[in-house]
């Protein structure tokens, strides 16, 4: 799944993508009482891994929360260097559907591209098919395409050019 997601990112934004194994949440970011990982604690640690000209995208299999939010699909600092996405709620099994790796891969790709967009400084987009459109439910994620709209793609190109 991760390899497929890496390929999607490479095609969509032309970034070189490397995959590094690692355990997220084992360093105090896991809240045993909630059974969730605090994304606000993870993001600063991921930022530490980012070197000049790179971004770090953490993929967690546990559920994420973010201080004031009960749960989140993922989080990124707008214009930052690190983001995190969880597969927990993206799995078809979470909503009672049978396992479907292809569907999980598509959803994860969309969420990763979405958070990468935020790292490039993009805000949510109102274009219905754009991957930068806000999605609060699985149905809304499924209704997006695995791609940026032309405006968002141009904005990313502009940011990359100036950055």
């Amino acid at each position: 799944v991760l390899r497929a997601v890496a390929t999607t990112i490479r095609i969509a934004v032309g970034l070189d993508v490397g995959i590094e194994p690692g355990a997220l949440g084992d360093d105090g970011a896991y809240d045993a009482h909630r059974g969730q990982i605090d994304s606000r604690r993870i993001l600063p640690r991921l930022e530490e891994f980012a070197t000049e000209g790179t971004m770090v995208l953490g993929i967690a299999d546990r559920d994420l929360f973010s201080t004031v939010f009960q749960w989140i699909f993922g989080e990124a600092h707008l214009g930052g260097h690190a983001a995190v996405v969880s597969t927990y709620r993206l799995q078809p099994e979470f909503s009672g559907a049978p396992p479907d790796l292809m569907l999980l891969q598509q959803r994860l790709s969309k969420e990763c591209l979405h958070e990468i967009g935020h790292l490039f400084g993009l805000v949510h987009c109102e274009n219905p098919g754009c991957v930068m459109r806000f999605a609060g439910t699985l149905a809304e994620i499924d209704s997006k395409t695995v791609d940026y709209c032309d405006s968002c793609l141009m904005e990313i190109a502009r940011k990359r050019g100036s950055g």
Binding site: R40, T67, V68, V123, C125, F134, C149, S151
Partner: protein
């Protein structure tokens, strides 16, 4: 496409916990909104003063110092259109309900469900857009439906305008009195336009123009099959004027039977359609007008005293034009401009002799007659100056000592009837009243003199001269 600037919201976040402020700020900024954050009530009010107005304020209920409820009251007092969302922990939902009663727009519980918070913001944006659209439409309607101005510099007009300004914002019933053609409907429209009901309907019923049965059906409506020909249910004018103003013109003409039902509807604010038995609530303000002396009709017993007092809570007497002659030049020039624009030409000048004669004339048909006279003058005169020649009624007056001696009695009578009909816009009841004859006589004269709409008061048609 990134979110357009015009669709972004301006949000105020107030919470004593920095982590909440920072999280919400990041979250909303990802959505393209502009966010200002404050740690307490005092700082929030300062931000509202310095950076406002905001579209939405998210405020924590439990804060040291000024609590959320107090802050809510202050924020709304400064900006009643602000959508305030209160943030509360699960344990304080009761307080959130209190906040809703105090005018909060919605509440969210902490920690937030991101989907619910996003929906709330979306609804808030829709709410703001509707408010903006509403404001734009009100402005457009204002531009379209501004009533024609009541013109004049006389003390009499100033007094009428004062009375309108005083009574318009209230819910008081108004009785407008004055001779035919003085502009009673204009006064009624001005009252409506300056009232809280101005964006709701202004419904006119000419009580003198309709036969009794038809008037009742018009006013109160009827159910299907209420009478022969009532094939469909019909809503009456009272229902049509719901939340607006009902203008009952020529109120002195209504029959005793209709007066009874009218009084009941005005007192109970409910209508029962003809042939129906259901009371339908109606929220209307009544403005009535008459050119009759209703007090005398009450004394004679032809108009109900209780209905008279219901309608005559506030009376505006519109003076006849001959009692405010100083307004005639202003009105004459105004009508010149208006009709010239309608005819797509430059407004002609009225020469000084004609203007003096127009000012000296008595105008039995008042402003309406003056308006008709100017319109007709513009039709016959294609040049850029109007003289006495273009106003036949002035010529009559001028020629009276010599000219009338060569005319037959019937010729003078015909000419006078024509003029009165024109002055009253062919309102036969009104013409009969001015001529002090009954309506049948007016009809007979029209037939015998072969008078038609548009017949000049000084006819050259030999067939009408006997």
């Amino acid at each position: 496409m990134t979110q357009a600037e015009g669709t972004a919201l301006k949000i105020l976040v107030v919470d004593d916990e920095i982590i909440v402020r920072r999280s919400l700020k990041d979250w909303f900024e990802e959505d393209g909104h502009s966010v200002h954050a404050a740690a307490d009530g005092a700082a929030a009010l300062k931000l509202q003063h310095d950076e406002g107005p905001f579209d939405v304020a998210l405020i924590d209920l439990k804060m040291p110092g000024m609590d959320g409820l107090e802050l809510l009251r202050h924020l709304l007092a400064a900006d009643p259109s602000l959508s305030v969302v209160v943030m509360t922990a699960y344990a304080s939902v009761d307080t959130a309900v209190r906040a809703l009663k105090e005018g909060a727009w919605d509440y969210v519980t902490k920690p937030f469900d991101p989907d619910l918070l996003s929906q709330l913001l979306r609804r808030s944006k829709e709410h703001r857009d509707l408010e903006m659209m509403n404001a734009r439409m009100r402005q457009s309607i204002d531009e379209i439906v501004q009533p024609r101005p009541i013109l004049g510099h006389s003390a009499a007009v100033a007094h009428v305008l004062d009375q309108i300004a005083n009574v318009a914002p209230t819910e008081t019933s108004v009785l407008i009195t004055g001779e035919s053609g003085v502009g009673k409907e204009l006064v009624a429209r001005a009252i409506h336009a300056n009232s809280k009901r101005s964006y709701m309907p202004f419904v006119v019923v000419n009580c003198g123009a309709l036969a009794e049965g038809i008037l009742e059906s018009e006013l109160f409506g009827h159910e299907r099959g209420a009478f022969t020909g009532a094939q469909f249910q019909h809503k009456g004018k009272f229902e049509a004027a719901d939340k607006g103003t009902l203008f009952l013109d020529e109120i002195g003409e209504i029959s005793p039977h209709t007066q009874v039902e009218l009084l009941r509807v005005i007192e109970e604010k409910t209508v029962i359609r003809l042939g129906g038995n259901k009371s339908i609530p109606a929220d209307f303000r009544v403005v009535a007008a008459t050119n009759r002396d209703l007090r005398q009709h009450v004394a004679e017993g032809s108009f109900r005293e209780d209905l008279f007092y219901r309608l005559n809570v506030f009376q505006i007497e519109v003076p006849p034009l001959r009692e405010r002659r100083e307004d005639i030049p202003v009105l004459a020039k105004h009508f010149c401009t208006r009709f010239a624009r309608q005819m797509n030409r430059l407004p002609p000048r009225i020469d000084s002799i004609a203007l003096r004669r127009l000012t000296q004339f008595d105008w039995p048909g008042n402003v309406r007659e003056l308006s008709n006279a100017i319109e007709r003058a513009l039709v016959v005169q294609k040049g850029d100056v109007l003289t006495t020649e273009h106003f036949p009624m002035l010529r009559d007056r001028q020629s009276t000592p010599n000219g009338s001696s060569s005319r037959s009695l019937s010729d003078v009578e015909r000419s006078h009837i024509c003029r009165v009909l024109e002055a009253t816009n062919w309102n036969i009841s009104e013409a009969a009243r001015i001529l002090e004859v009954d309506r049948g006589t007016v009809y007979n004269k029209i037939r015998s003199y072969k008078i038609e709409h548009g017949t000049p008061s000084e006819s050259n048609d030999p067939s009408s001269r006997e």
